[in-house]
């Protein structure tokens, strides 16, 4: 829900800039990237499931006073240790379902769905 709202809101203030949404052609205006944020709070990823469009960047922000990491499938994405206030960004170019965990507290699980 959050991601959808952001996409729509993003298109409006851009004015002349065109937000290309033609995944088949692979054309995206470089400055029209959708941004989505996942909060790491109280030993959980919030939202636990996030849907975005291919080409969007997700930003994780740790608000806990404990260190957390963002670890996706091997070789895909992995943050270093995130202290309180630290952020980590990853741009999802390929569609797919990406499950990830905090490698230090692996009961913390979440997903990014890239359309």
């Amino acid at each position: 829900m959050f991601a959808t709202t952001l996409r729509h809101a993003f298109a409006v203030p851009l004015g002349a800039a065109m937000l290309m949404t033609a995944p088949a052609s692979g054309l995206f205006a470089a400055h029209a990237q959708a941004m989505s944020t996942v909060l790491i709070k109280d030993f959980a990823f919030s939202p636990a499931a996030l849907t975005i469009k291919a080409g969007a960047t997700v930003t994780w922000k740790n608000t806990d006073d404990e260190t957390h990491t963002v670890v996706g499938p091997p070789g895909v994405f992995r943050s270093s240790g995130l202290d309180q206030g630290d952020t980590y960004k990853f741009k999802f170019d390929r569609p797919g379902v990406y499950a990830y965990i905090c490698s230090m507290h692996p009961h913390m699980k979440a997903t990014i769905v890239v359309q």
Binding site: D42, V71, G81, H107
Partner: protein
């Protein structure tokens, strides 16, 4: 309390909780019964194996942490080292049960090494905590401490007739969030123990608890039962862990399980709060919740004694 040998097996009795100033109480385990012993009495005893604590367990130093729960972890580690250096009997070696650093950074490892070199115990053996390997393969940790295990993280050594086994359970987590040893390490353990006499005292140390203390917070090791199955035949097994920043103990037959305090910050008791994060307490209470443990292993009769000491 009448003076008597702390290792006299005829001294049975109900467990009494005795406080000796701020130094701590030594509990001696004999044939499954814990008996408290005056620490001063034990330390003053003459002669080698009886009076001298065999080794020190230090844990969760978290060098690099600087949040309100303790803005000066280097300072509290320094005070811990002073406390250890002032102990009446010097342990022969130190075991660090992990989370040496907070964010696995090179400068944090440097600072930790510098501080720990202030211990008047020159021999130290380590296992990593999950905070030491946040970069995945643990490049920085293994660059410094990997030699003992050829970068595998698990190894064993002998000291004064006691067989020490270092294990790693922070690299392969189970889906339920518990730590794990993995099949290769378990096979190595079985092989390492094969043929050893059951009267050999064993000490196993690893970062995550080797029994399930509280699964929702990941306080346990998913395949620990397999490890314990190889250890049960031994007459004296001491399992030393860290990770939870508080002392929880369990005795199961000839096996004593013990988690140590941190020298950096305490954590909440299991289940109290959203998760196992740093617990902020009033400044005057903090030193009472930080500390170290010294462990004595006696051979005749086969017994373990653990002393937990706090900073204040």
């Amino acid at each position: 309390m009448p003076p008597a040998s702390p290792f006299d097996p005829s001294r049975r009795g109900a467990l009494k909780c005795l406080a000796f100033g701020g130094v701590g109480t030594l509990f001696v385990l004999s044939a499954g019964v814990l008996t408290p012993v005056d620490l001063a009495l034990a330390a003053s005893r003459e002669g080698g194996a009886h009076g001298i604590p065999l080794f020190l367990q230090i844990s969760d130093t978290h060098i690099g942490f600087d949040k309100p729960a303790n803005p000066d972890v280097a300072g509290t580690l320094g005070r811990t080292i002073e406390l250890v250096n002032a102990m009446p009997a010097r342990p022969a070696l130190t075991i660090h049960t992990g989370d040496i650093t907070h964010l696995s950074k090179a400068d944090e490892f440097d600072t930790a090494a510098q501080l720990l070199s202030g211990l008047n115990i020159t021999e130290m053996h380590t296992v990593p905590g999950e905070h030491d390997v946040t970069d995945g393969p643990g490049a920085e940790y293994f660059a410094r401490f990997g030699k003992a295990s050829a970068n595998k993280g698990y190894y064993s050594f002998d000291h004064a007739g006691v067989h020490f086994i270092a294990m790693i359970n922070v690299m392969n987590f189970k889906p339920n969030g518990l730590g794990a040893f993995g099949d290769e390490q378990l096979a190595w353990l079985a092989n390492d123990l094969k043929g050893r006499s059951a009267s050999t005292p064993i000490v196993v140390f690893a970062h995550m608890p080797m029994w399930t203390i509280f699964e929702p917070w990941g306080w346990g090791t998913g395949d620990a039962d397999q490890a314990m199955s190889h250890l049960r035949r031994f007459g004296s097994v001491t399992v030393l862990n860290g990770h939870i920043h508080q002392i929880v103990q369990k005795v199961e037959g000839s096996i004593t399980f013990h988690t140590a305090r941190s020298t950096a910050y305490p954590q909440a008791v299991a289940g109290v709060g959203p998760g196992p994060g740093p617990l902020k307490v009033p400044a005057d209470q903090l030193p009472r919740m930080l500390g170290v443990s010294s462990v004595k292993i006696a051979r005749h009769p086969l017994m373990t004694g653990i002393t937990d000491t706090t900073l204040a």
